[in-house]
Amino acid sequence: MGFLNEYCTFKPFSLELLSSCRQFDCEHVDLNEFFANDCINYSGELLGKTYCFSLDENPDIAICLFTISNDSIKTGLLPNSRKNKINRPIPNGKRMHSYPAVLIGRLGVNKDFKRKGIGKELMDFIKSWFIDSGNKTGCRFLVVDSYNEQEPLSYYLKNGFEYLFDNKEDEKSYTGIKTEEPLHTRLMYFDLIILKK
């Protein structure tokens, strides 16, 4: 049994919860700002939904928060011969150029609860949640727009994520960022198909 399973309760992060919780601090200014100021509006606009694990013995303490939204990874404009070849392993009628995905827009662990394996447990929970037979929609990939910083990149790599673009210049070009501008985030993905239910 992990910490989240044993000592916490999972719930949607609502305005009521935001108002009653102690200020969430995961030692990252942008993340803290998003969860304090933006995530409720984000949810209200149906752009993404934020979930929380709160501590059972003190529900005012949010242990970790994450925001997810529906997304997809699309591949486009491949010549027919190539298209048929690369899609062959997908079973009858399931060939596609658009793979359903869930985008983890933000994820943070309370600074007072770091280095307890909670980040790994949280990611295992998210993976399990989306391969669960009760999941109402299909989801092949988890995608994250990780901060382009050592700690989060290392976290996602350790949890089996790969870069969507090996090359940072390609990522800038694809996402409309000028060459001279910094790349604040990196798109990474995890293929859920390898996990046995």
Partner: protein, 52 residues
């Protein structure tokens, strides 16, 4: 205002080929990583949350 969450661009050319090749390679080893303990834990979390 926090940094905007990027949308996922459509992949073309070599980036698309590399991605699809990896997706097909993963499909070839479908369900080979035993995740049953993690799923059991997730189910327990969802039941406690009354979301199961």
């Amino acid at each position: 205002m926090a940094i905007a969450i990027k949308s996922i661009p459509i992949l073309y050319g070599d980036n698309a080929k590399k991605f699809v090749d990896k997706a097909n390679a993963a499909y070839a080893v479908k369900s080979t990583i035993d995740f049953s303990k993690q799923i059991e834990s997730a189910n327990s979390i969802l039941e406690k949350a009354k979301m199961k």
